[in-house]
């Protein structure tokens, strides 16, 4: 599904190198967790996969279903089935959530050779999908994320994932800013969206999220490199010992 080879990325005009040679393979239907402290490059990795214009790939390859994502516009990636749930979902004034979701879904459906859905068909589909994240239907007529609480914004991200049905979903710190009840709802939503055809990459600082979504593999990112990979038990070990435990691994 996804193969990252020796990925180097600089960010911003200053050109500071944040990712310093990432190698990662994600198989179809697998759930991978990428853990790391603040500043380790987790979010940069997520944003690079989504095609954020501030991320400059200076070296390496990102192969998704055999295609190189580097140089591909973010919208094209999305239509090919790549999805990123934002750590900080953006507020979009003047565009209702329902309108936005339908426009996005139809863009994706067109790419997949499916017919566009009209407003009525879409509403039917949306009602089903909203159950997955227990989202308040009143939010659909409000502008995207505008005035949404932190929890509502994160639910809205997972709702978008449910509607767009990506093949590769990258969840960037979806647990941050959520209280335990909201976290359970969001995690349950993600679990319902697991499928043999869908790979999920969870980017997170804390092990907490992994109590609810069980990863197949865990990778630890430190200073722009993956320093350790393992099974789900690695997350527990990390929780017990802290990131300092791995500091020595960085320059190996």
């Amino acid at each position: 599904m996804l193969e990252i080879r020796n990925l180097h990325v600089t960010v911003g005009e200053a050109g500071i190198e944040i990712l310093k040679g990432i190698n990662l393979k994600v198989g179809r239907g697998e759930v991978h967790a990428i853990m790391g402290p603040n500043g380790s490059g987790k979010s940069t990795l997520a944003r690079t996969l989504a095609g954020h214009p501030d991320s400059n790939v200076t070296q390496g390859e990102i192969l998704y279903e055999g295609k190189n994502l580097i140089g591909m516009e973010p919208d094209q990636r999305a239509r090919e089935g790549v999805f990123m749930a934002f750590q900080y979902p953006v507020e979009i004034p003047g565009i209702s959530t329902a309108y936005f979701l339908r426009a996005a879904l139809n863009a994706v459906r067109t790419q997949r050779g499916l017919e566009e859905l009209d407003a009525v068909e879409f509403l039917g589909l949306l009602k089903e999908k909203m159950k997955i994240v227990e989202m308040d239907p009143g939010l659909l007529n409000r502008p995207v994320n505008e005035g949404f609480s932190g929890g509502e914004k994160k639910r809205n991200e997972i709702l978008q994932m449910a509607v767009l049905e990506p093949k590769l979903a990258i969840l960037d710190e979806t647990d941050s800013g959520l209280d335990i009840d909201a976290l359970k709802v969001v995690a349950a939503g993600v679990n319902r969206l697991k499928s043999p055809d869908r790979s999920i990459v969870l980017v997170t600082h804390y092990q907490r999220l992994l109590n609810y979504i069980t990863p197949d593999f865990v990778h630890i990112l430190l200073e722009g490199r993956i320093v350790k990979s393992g099974k789900k038990e690695l997350a527990l070990e990390l929780e017990a010992k802290g990131y300092d435990w791995l500091k020595g691994e960085v320059h190996v």
């Binding site: 919208d75 999805f83 934002f86 979009i92 004034p93 502008p143």
Partner: protein, 445 residues
């Protein structure tokens, strides 16, 4: 050149032609106004109020005055596209500023409601017209207003008697046709709502052919105690050859409500002055505006809201979107006078630049002479938010579509303030079409 001399000649022709028909008060009003016009001339950027709007491009044309109906009359079919679908009320049509009975229909207006041509009203209803004419749009300081006043002969007259109401919006349609060369038309409108009456009026400006022309319009609005008016102005003049200068003067009495929406879609150069006098306690005005400015256009909105008495409320939201090499000006003054305790004034102007070559001069001004008031104002000029753009694109929407959606989203709150469905829907369509146009133009480059 369009100078004072040809204006004088036209003025003499008008006087001669109407010598016997016009009441003496009007003759003397016109003369005073014309003499004031000759003193003022046309404004130059040396004047503070015209600093950012240079009218010299329009003065290059030899405009003929439109005093008589053009010979080749229009048919209802030719102007059909200027109807707003879904509007069922009275429609008064003016060609080159002159009333066209053939193209107009007033249907059955509710009792107490008059919608007619000003030239007829001057003859049939002098008692209603004369006390209000030229009282709300002073001509002492603005050459264009003085010129319009000197040539008062036609336009719309709307009058609602005490307590009357008109549910359906009255649509005033002004069309400029220039079969025989550059032309100036000067509609003069007077809208009077007596105590407790309510109405909605749409004033629209369109054009038919491609020669240079100038619309120099003046609209006076008088709202008596407890009266309520929704007033929409739609300016859709020729973006290549149309010049539009307009002054709207509003005078509000106790507890009256004025709701306005100014929509600027066309004109090579537009200057819009909207002056509202909250002249008595508890009066309230809401001024909305949206201007879409394309390559080669210059749109200037000057507004003045004058809180004269206690407990007045004013809310203003003007938004502009600019593309290509274009320019917009917003100058909004709010005065809160010494006596205007408990005034509530809010003013916002926001501009979105879609091109590096577009420019905006925005200047909101507050002048407060009373401590016991609540006043806020703000202005912004910006570009599309890159984070928002990435967010939309990351969901599969292509660049063009994402930009259009964000641009539309920028204008949505002001569009949604339009309370007449037909206007709101039309405006929505216009905005999408305006965005699409850009892409078509881009593709042919």
């Amino acid at each position: 050149m369009f100078e004072i001399d040809p204006c004088r000649e036209a003025f003499r022709t008008l006087e001669k032609r109407e010598a016997s028909k016009v009441p003496p008060e009007l003759v003397s009003l016109r003369r005073t106004a014309f003499s004031r016009f000759t003193e003022l001339g046309f404004p130059t950027p040396r004047e503070e109020e015209w600093k950012y709007t240079n009218v010299s491009p329009l003065l290059k044309h030899q405009f003929k005055f439109s005093i008589e109906q053009p010979a080749n009359g229009l048919t209802a079919e030719e102007i059909h596209s200027f109807r707003l679908s879904g509007l069922a009320g009275a429609q008064l049509v003016f060609v080159n500023g002159l009333f066209s009975p053939k193209l107009s229909h007033t249907g059955e207006l509710p009792s107490g409601v008059k919608a007619a041509s000003l030239s007829e009203a001057l003859i049939h209803d002098p008692g209603l017209v004369r006390p209000e004419l030229a009282r709300t749009a002073p001509y002492g300081r603005n050459g264009f207003t003085a010129l319009n006043t000197a040539f008062i002969h036609d336009g719309a007259f709307i009058h609602l008697s005490r307590g009357s109401g008109c549910e359906k919006p009255i649509h005033l349609v002004f069309i400029t046709q220039t079969p025989s060369g550059p032309l100036i038309s000067q509609p003069r409108n007077l809208i009077v709502l007596e105590a407790g009456s309510r109405a909605a009026v749409i004033e629209s400006y369109y054009f038919l052919d491609g020669k240079a022309y100038l619309t120099n319009a003046v609209t006076e609005i008088v709202l008596k105690e407890d009266a309520s008016l929704d007033y929409y102005k739609v300016q859709r003049e020729d973006a290549r050859n149309g010049f539009h200068v307009a002054t709207t003067g509003v005078r509000q009495d106790r507890n009256s409500r004025f709701f306005s929406f100014s929509i600027s879609l066309g004109a090579k150069l537009e200057r819009e002055d909207l002056n509202v006098l909250l002249g008595a306690e508890g009066s309230e005005c809401t001024l909305n505006g949206l201007y879409l400015v394309s390559d080669g256009q210059h749109i200037d909105h000057h507004t003045v809201i004058d809180h004269l008495k206690p407990q007045g409320t004013s809310h203003q939201l003007y938004k502009g979107i600019l593309k290509g090499k274009s320019h917009a000006v917003f100058n909004g003054k709010v005065f809160v006078r010494e006596d205007a305790r408990k005034s509530d004034a809010e003013q916002v102007n926001k501009n979105l630049l879609l091109s590096d070559e577009a420019g905006v001069d925005t200047k909101p001004q507050l002048e407060i002479s009373n401590d016991d008031v609540k006043c806020t104002h703000g202005a912004a000029v910006g570009q599309l938010d890159e984070d928002a753009l990435f967010y939309l694109k990351s969901r599969g929407l292509d660049d063009e579509n994402s930009r259009d959606l964000l641009t539309h989203g920028f204008a949505a709150d002001v569009i949604n303030r339009a309370r007449i469905d037909a206007v709101r829907m039309e405006l929505d369509r216009e905005l999408w079409a305006w965005l699409q146009n850009d892409h078509l133009a881009g593709e042919t480059k």
